[in-house]
């Protein structure tokens, strides 16, 4: 425990800016992964335990595309589109077979794919740590805000994630497709009776969730190291986020992600070894006081 470092940081504006930015980075990446998780749970009622793998694939796809083409935009596109396709195939071929079965069977199918996907990545890209490297366009001098150092890439990352949040929120609230998705989440039988193919919606939502996780992975690729199994820690953290925010709530995922990002960022100063413990402690406190999360609705 190192409370002096924490209070020292809180007193210095430079440190405050740096830590808050890094908290936002963690939070925004977490949000993109968690929002897919929460969307899939809200519509399909499936806890997608293999969701972290999409984050991992997004990062690896982006790295390969960047190495092949040298284009950052193309790398992001490949990360997002590739995982969307993967999500669609995964849902149609495997997950759709265990709808209505025991929750444990769904978890088991996902668990099987966590194992399989990790090994597939090891086969294709090798077991060692990889790095995509920062694209040339962002290798510029960092900004100084109130004495704190903020790399421009961080601002782009936060901007893209926030844009995705706004588009997703508005899309679900305002568009026709969004309404159908919400209706399917609420009453799939009725939606199906109205002549809408729920299989298409389920596949689409899974693809969308996979795409968001893949985008997060692609965005993280320049600033994090890539390794098989990297999906796992982000999966656990995004579970915490969705549970804190309330399963199925997009706003909850956003708030939960920022909270966890800040806990990680500032916690690493004050409690270097117990940072993860702080997150779990926070989750326990939230769940005990509000069992369905901060923004969750009581499900009958």
């Amino acid at each position: 425990m190192d409370l002096d470092a924490l209070t020292g940081c809180l007193a210095s504006s430079a440190c405050l800016v740096t830590q808050t930015t890094s908290g936002f980075i963690i939070g925004m990446l977490l949000f993109l992964v968690a929002v897919g998780l929460t969307l899939i749970f809200g519509v399909l009622k499936v806890v997608n335990f293999s969701h972290g793998a999409f984050y991992m694939f997004g990062a690896y796809f982006a790295m390969s595309a960047y190495q092949l083409t040298g284009s950052f935009a193309l790398a992001m596109l490949c990360g997002a589109a590739g995982t969307a396709l993967l999500g669609l195939i995964f849902e149609r071929v495997f997950m759709s077979r265990v709808y209505g079965a025991d929750v444990l069977m769904q978890l088991l199918v996902c668990y099987a794919f966590v194992l399989i996907f990790d090994d597939v990545v090891r086969m294709i890209w090798g077991p060692e740590f990889k790095s995509m490297g920062m694209p040339a366009a962002f290798q510029v001098a960092p900004l100084f805000i109130a004495g704190g150092v903020v790399p421009p890439y961080y601002l782009l990352l936060i901007g893209v994630a926030l844009a995705a949040a706004v588009i997703l929120g508005l899309g679900l609230a305002r568009t026709r497709i969004g309404k159908v998705i919400r209706a399917a989440a609420h009453n799939p039988g009725m939606v199906s009776a109205l002549g809408i193919n729920t299989g298409v919606i389920y596949g689409g939502v899974f693809a969308l969730g996979g795409m968001l996780a893949g985008l997060a992975g692609a965005l993280a690729a320049p600033v994090r190291s890539l390794t098989p199994g990297m999906g796992f820690s982000i999966l656990i953290e995004s579970f915490i986020v969705t549970v804190i925010g309330g399963m199925g709530s997009i706003l909850g995922a956003l708030i939960g992600a920022i909270l966890i990002g800040m806990i990680r960022s500032f916690g690493s100063l004050g409690f270097p070894l117990f940072t993860e413990g702080l997150m779990y402690l926070f989750m326990v406190i939230v769940l005990v006081s509000r069992p369905t999360g901060l923004f969750g609705k009581e499900v009958a």
Binding site: V98, V103, L115, V243, Y280, L287
Partner: protein, 339 residues
Amino acid sequence: MTELQAEQGTPALDVPRTEAKPRRNRDALIALAVFIVLALLPMVFSSKLLLDFVIRCAAYGLFATSLNLLVGYTGLISFGHGMFFGLGAYGFGLMMQKTGVPIPVAFVATLAITFVIALVIGAICVRLKEIYFAFVTLAFQMLIHSTILSWVSLTGGDQGLRGGIPRPPFWGIDLSNHLHLYVASCALLVTGLFLMHQIAQSPFGYTLRMIRDNATRASFIGIDVWRAKLTIFVLAALFASTGGIIMALFVSGAYPEFAYWTISGEGIFINMLGGVTTFLGPMVGTVLLLILNDTVTRWTDYHGIVLGIVILFFAIGLRKGLMDFAVEWYARRRDGSGT
């Protein structure tokens, strides 16, 4: 596929027995016979590998079977049951390293610590339902795991409890002797299974099944559901802790992985592999998983793929564990030919 689902829940084995006393005596005799066979095994096969295998089966088997008391019998899907496995290993290891008390004392004291911690955590967890219960148990597990990692002065952090666990002889038993450790593990396994079977067959065990099938109805007829769930949570924790103690004795140490959530995941997987509606399903699953792990790692570096495909076969193909599948297949065959 749909007809298989409809049959889930209460197969023929779940019929309550009225003649409890003779059954208990019969179970005790069976347990004794199994123990004698296991204990005599080294006289026939003296391979150290086999004895090691049985000791590991004892550790994981106790853990998995106790998890099934929650998952299969009560419908409580715990993702954090492994914390008690880890607690047993660390509690026992620390006690032996730091205090120098005799092994039986350390054993009982570890169970006592597990009891208190399980009571506190259980009292918080069992209020929550389904997926929230799963998550809050997972959170507690990771909280304990983080504590083990960060409390370096006590637990050795990510290096684990090293330097070996002292195993002074007691009552003429010397657990540093491989054969003695083997027989002791078998004794703990058989006793644990016998006790858990008695719990499962008792009226309390049937209360648990009722809570699993219809908790609302159970509370309407005057059952204190929270209390029953808490009781089985704590009991299951004690048996899981015993599994952890065997593991600590076996590897002569304790490592953070023993308390990591993957242990819980493996426990659930073992249960699904072996089956959750028969008492011995988890034992079958344990043996299967250990054999699978041992053989697959010998043949390929990519054992995740192989294991994953096997899991898919069970989850999508059979849709249930091996013992569940076998029991139903047998029941259907018997009914078919009986007419």
